[in-house]
């Protein structure tokens, strides 16, 4: 009566069903949760029946997606109930609600063990099932011997043994040592002699798990598997209950063939012959029948047999049978079979010699690219991608291009990436490659990643013959009415470099080229304008004889952008304008870009990674990777080092090997050589990179494994700092720890310091992860976004990010996912509120697991004091009254600082500016002094003006006197200390090569500066200025 009569449960379920909307449902559920909670509180009064009913309600609520954070104990306690109905509920609900790490589960170990070793076989089954579903390591340690005993026991009934087999599988995964007992492989082989198909099905799953890790130990199981398969295929001694639509357990057949695919070869001739006979029967004897279920079941077996044949790399004849079958499948109406035909054909590509036969089906595959079902279209795309080679690249790529315009948005990015890769890998000639890429940009500009156009620029730069062609081509595209911004970028770059090669053609004079480009400027975003400006500078340089009109036009543009709010644009405009005045010197600096070092296409690298994500990671490929002795040839082994290896297939070998400009050149003191690369901006020693594209790729782009670039960056840093481990001398103890086995790429302290000055960049990087940061600051609020990028083809797990904020910062980090999928980037916003002035630094305690590596790093976050500063110019008539009104400590503090890193005054001014302290020139008549002002924002101080004066001694640049004033004593002190830290140790200052020309003889006042009595700076300053 009890089971049927859980009336309360039925009523509750129908109530839920009758809810009109989500809100009603929530209300009903909240009410029920309250009710259940109350009942559980007075647990003594609950009968087992009631307890059971409430536990089911909890499961029901949980299934609907509501959190049930109580009652777990009640569910677990039902496990020890004496009666079957309660015990069963306890076991089932526990395995649904809890995971293996739950504490309550540990409490139940003893009860569970008693059930397993007890005499009641229904209890044994329940306990084995729960352990099989959620048992953890502790279960493995305490229960494995008992479970093994049950599995092997001859007195145990099959219903217990089949569960014991899968339970052992779980325990084995938690702790592989559980089967590390002598003679286990033999016992496993004996298990396969089992007549009961239930036990055999479970045992086969266990075997698959075991052989996939160590096939050598289980050789003796191989003939048994073949025997089992033969028994099933010939329908010998199979009970009616285990035939499904006349087919002897299709699931066991599939599983058995799967187990066989983990053995690299079959040496015993008898076993091999038997197996091939069986497989031949399956291949030839599977007919299409009317009954859907029978048809599916027989084809499930057939597809697994195909996979096994491919794995065994059978005789040619059998292979061609397989391809013929697959060729038939991809043309049938039934969508499932069509899908599987395409999928298996892709797997077949890895088999030697199959490619030629598969190519015969190209037309049919191209048809599938237009199938109404996206699942099928994806398979077709993968297959076309896999079967492409030099002979058919033109056809396939052109099909992909044609399909691009009508493809779903979800597929366009993948489609264009694949087309770009194929075009690069298999281009019969380079001009065709350029055509394809430009078409891609034209048709699907939004889906073209930067990598794609960077790559075409690399090829054009490195192949002289290609340059006029590419220039003429992009010009044609630019003349079209609507042009995608990416097209503007690539065109601007190419026309800037190479349009002079077209100068004699009609319509290609510098002026006309400039006109075409400049027409686009109003339509593009700020990321494109710098490229346009560079193009203008280069066009101007190539205009021979000089064209006054063009020159004044372009100069006017530079002029206009000199005050642009975007720093990159502004810098380029200022620098180009200055360069243009230099006449002949311009030629050296703006010379043609040198050839790029030959390197592996980042596109191809990307594709190799993303391949692992897509469905085509076939069992065959996986297995081939696991077993190096496998006869299969894996065709796309990635080269060992992406940075130096040639383009894999070699069709696009570059015309010449360029002279690589090393980073050492960049940092050398000779300005001419550091500009050799035609570098567009001044060289930033913090980011030396082997070429411009490295820069363009941006700090947040996830690059492949570290190549030469990173290495040279490291060198540069160590050269500058005298050692990679040099730490700054600030009061803060560096928190980076080196105990991890995973080594960070680049210097963590460096990265932190760089980020203190800019708002985006890389905070941390190692071979597995890159953490980028992007920040926006407004008054005392900050909004940071952490970009956690997984660089690998495997997920990063157990990801944890813990904020350790100092007392003065309120920080809120949004949820960080536990797992970062392969090649994915996760964004985690972080809100910061500055409560009061302090130099303390927030720390991010970050950890993740990759394989067996547990990586934990503590990273300082650049939410530092200067981020809450806003530079503000203060005119003299305001400065002096303020300065005077803040008289003396604690609001005004003064200190003589010694041990200052010597630097020329303009450099110090730049440094202060970079920390958002605005230099107010002209306030202090002494040229050796600096006066600066800024506004500090925090919740306690609100906006507060800070005034700074620094007096330097040209005779001794290692000391100076600093005076700080603000309306808040803490702020004055903290800011003073902060500036001091910056002056004493600046991590990335270039070496002070020949001492800078000393300033002209110091006026007497300056000489006297250090001796100024420290007690009355205001009067002194006023005196000096009067």
């Amino acid at each position: 009566m009890a089971m049927h009569g859980m009336r309360g449960l039925s009523v509750f379920i129908s109530d839920i069903r009758n809810c009109q909307n989500k809100e009603q449902e929530r209300q009903r559920i909240d009410k029920e949760l309250g009710n259940v909670r109350n009942r559980f509180k007075n647990e003594k009064g609950l009968s087992p029946y009631e307890k059971k009913k409430y536990v089911w309600k909890m499961l029901y609520i949980y299934m609907l997606g509501y959190d049930v954070d109580f009652g777990h104990m009640e569910a677990v306690s039902l496990i020890s109930a004496p009666k079957y109905p309660e015990k069963q509920v306890g076991y089932i609900v526990t395995s649904c609600l809890l995971n293996e790490n739950h504490d309550f589960l540990r409490l139940a170990i003893n009860t569970v063990r008693n059930d397993i070793i007890g005499r009641n076989e229904t209890f044994q089954c329940l306990a084995l099932t729960m352990v099989g579903n959620i048992g953890g390591r502790e279960f493995a340690e305490s229960l494995a011997p008992d479970v093994q005993k049950l599995l092997l026991s001859s007195s145990c009934r099959p219903l217990v043994r089949k569960k014991a087999a899968l339970c052992l599988l779980r325990l084995y995964r938690k702790n592989p040592d559980v089967v590390n007992v002598d003679g286990w492989a033999d016992r496993m082989a004996q298990l396969l002699d089992e007549r009961d198909l239930g036990v055999l099905t479970s045992s086969m799953s266990l075997l698959v798990a075991l052989v996939s890790n160590n096939h050598e130990a289980y050789w003796s199981c191989l003939p048994k598997c073949v025997k089992t398969l033969e028994r099933l295929a010939r329908n010998q001694d199979i009970p009616q209950e285990y035939t499904y639509y006349g087919i002897p357990s299709p699931w066991l057949q599939v599983k058995t063939m799967r187990a066989l695919q983990y053995f690299p070869t079959i040496e015993d001739p008898y076993t091999r012959r038997t197996l091939f006979e069986v497989l031949q029967r399956i291949l030839m004897g599977t007919d299409v029948v009317k009954n859907v279920n029978k048809n599916n079941a027989s084809h499930a077996v057939l597809f697994e047999a195909l996979a096994l044949v491919m794995h065994l790399d059978a005789e040619k004849e059998m292979m061609s049978q397989c391809v013929a079958l697959l060729g038939k499948f991809i043309a049938v109406r039934e969508p499932n079979i069509r899908y599987l035909g395409l999928e298996n054909m892709t797997r077949m590509l890895m088999v030697t010699d199959a490619q030629e036969i598969i190519k015969r089906h190209q037309a049919q595959i191209i048809t599938s690219l237009k199938d109404p079902d996206i699942s099928i279209r994806r398979r077709a795309l993968d297959l076309l991608y896999g079967m492409c080679d030099v002979t058919n690249a033109k056809d396939i790529v052109e099909e992909l291009l044609q399909y691009l315009s009508s493809a779903d948005f979800t597929m366009r990015e993948e489609l264009s990436l694949k087309a770009a890769i194929l075009a690069e890998k298999f281009a019969p000639d380079l001009s065709w490659y350029v055509d394809v890429i430009l078409q891609l940009i034209d048709k699907a500009g939004d889906f073209i990643s930067d990598d794609i156009w960077f790559r075409v620029v690399q090829f054009v730069t490195n192949n002289d013959d290609l340059q006029p062609y590419a220039a003429a081509k992009v010009k044609e595209y630019l003349e079209k009415p609507a042009v995608h911004e990416t097209m503007v970028k690539v065109s601007a770059y190419i026309l800037g470099e190479y349009s002079h090669l077209l100068a004699r053609r009609p319509g290609c004079s510098p002026k006309e080229i400039f006109g075409i480009l400049h027409e686009k400027l109003p339509t593009v975003s700020t990321t494109t304008i710098p490229i346009l400006l560079s193009a203008y500078a280069k066009i101007l340089m190539h205009t021979q004889p000089p064209d006054q009109e063009l020159q004044s036009q372009i100069w006017a543009i530079f002029n206009k952008y000199e005050s642009c709010i975007d720093a990159e644009i502004q810098q380029r405009a200022v620098e180009y304008f200055a360069l243009c005045q230099k006449g002949a010197a311009l030629m050296d600096i703006l010379a043609e870009m040198p050839k790029f070092p030959e390197r592996k296409s980042s596109l191809i690298k990307r594709a190799e990674y993303s391949e692992a994500d897509t469905a085509e990671q076939s069992a065959i490929k996986l297995r081939a990777q696991q077993q190096p002795s496998n006869a299969l040839v894996v065709t796309d082994q990635p080269p060992a080092n992406g940075a130096t290896s040639p383009v894999p297939v070699g069709q696009l070998s570059l015309a010449m090997v360029p002279s690589m400009i090393t980073t050492e050149d960049h940092t050398s003191t000779d300005p001419a050589s550091s500009q050799q690369n035609g570098s567009l901006t001044k060289v930033d020693p913090q980011h030396p990179s082997a070429d411009l594209l490295g820069d363009l790729l941006g700090p947040l782009a996830i690059e492949g494994p570290p190549g030469a670039t990173v290495q040279s960056e490291h060198n540069a840093v160590s050269r500058l700092e005298g050692g990679p481990d040099a730490v700054d001398g600030s009061a803060i103890v560096p928190v980076e720890e080196q105990r991890n086995t995973v080594q960070p790429i680049g210097n963590i302290a460096e990265r932190f310091h760089a980020l203190c000055l800019k708002d985006s960049g890389v905070l941390y990087e190692d071979p597995y992860i890159q953490i980028g940061i992007k920040a926006e600051w407004r008054a005392h609020h900050g909004r940071l976004v952490l970009f956690l990028g997984n660089k690998n083809t495997a997920p990063l797990v157990s990801v944890q990010a813990l904020m350790l904020p100092p007392a003065h910062l309120k920080m809120e980090l949004s949820l960080v996912p536990d797992t970062i999928p392969p090649r994915a980037q996760v964004q985690c916003p972080l809100e910061v509120v500055n409560l009061r002035p302090s130099r303390d630094v927030a720390v991010l305690d970050f950890s993740y697991k990759f394989g067996t590596n547990m990586v934990n790093v503590k990273l300082r976050l650049p939410a530092v004091l200067n981020k809450f500063l806003q530079p503000i110019p203060v005119p003299a008539e305001e400065f002096f009254p303020q300065w005077r009104s803040l008289s003396g400590p604690p609001l005004k503090l003064q200190e003589v600082v010694r041990g200052v890193r010597p630097m020329p005054l303009p450099e110090m001014a730049n440094l202060l500016n970079s920390f958002r302290l605005m230099i107010c020139p002209g306030l202090d008549p002494n040229p050796n002094n600096l006066v600066a002002s800024t506004t500090f924002y925090s919740e306690s101080t609100h906006a507060m003006l800070c005034l700074i004066r620094i007096e330097t001694d040209p005779a001794d640049r290692t000391q100076l006197r600093m005076t700080l004033a603000s309306g808040d004593p803490t702020l004055t002190f903290e800011l003073k200390e902060f500036i001091k830290e910056q002056l004493i140790s600046i991590p990335t200052a270039p070496p002070q090569s020949p001492a800078p020309a000393p300033a002209p003889a110091p006026p007497p006042a300056a000489q006297a500066t250090p001796q100024i009595p420290p007690n009355d700076p205001a009067a002194l300053l006023a005196g000096l200025l009067s």
């Binding site: 069903r17 089911w56 099989g132 099905t201 599939v254 279920n293 499930a300 109404p372 699942s375």
Partner: protein, 143 residues
């Protein structure tokens, strides 16, 4: 691993049964169910029964108003799973007699018992309907 989860969802997208064989938090489950239900329910009869989602596949089958969605690893044999769904439906049919959505909804516990006899830790444990139904029948006898 093989089977990662089994979901029964009606055509309004309401979950009628959910059994996971890997641990996901409630938020993850909600998100996952939302995504795949949207994907699968939008498909029509002429399309195949397999949907690629993230790094695994959904094999699904529709019976009247109810969808059976099974998440599997990419290298799982799709047709075998497709027929395994049918086997589950046949087992429930044998027990309930012409099983429908309401049977599963109001007898969630029995649906769970049957599933538990068929799948353990993501592996198929039993395919004989008689064996699958024994414990449920036993339970009805004892209570």
């Amino acid at each position: 691993m093989g089977i990662r989860f089994i979901l029964m969802v009606n055509k309004q997208g309401q979950t009628r049964l959910a059994q996971y064989y890997e641990w996901l938090t409630l938020e993850e489950r909600r998100a996952l169910e939302g995504e795949i239900v949207r994907k699968c329910l939008a498909r029509n009869e002429q399309q195949c029964s397999f949907v690629e989602h993230r790094n695994y596949k959904i094999v699904y089958r529709r019976y009247a108003s109810l969808f059976f969605l099974v998440g599997v690893d990419n290298d799982e044999n799709e047709l075998a799973i497709l027929e395994f769904i049918h086997l589950l439906v046949e087992a429930m049919d044998r027990h309930f007699g012409n099983v429908c959505e309401l049977d599963i909804m109001f007898h969630l516990e029995k649906a769970h018992f049957m599933l538990e006899e068929m799948v353990m830790n993501g592996c198929i444990v039993e395919t004989s309907k008689a064996n699958i139904l024994t414990p449920v029948q036993l339970l009805e006898k004892t209570s």
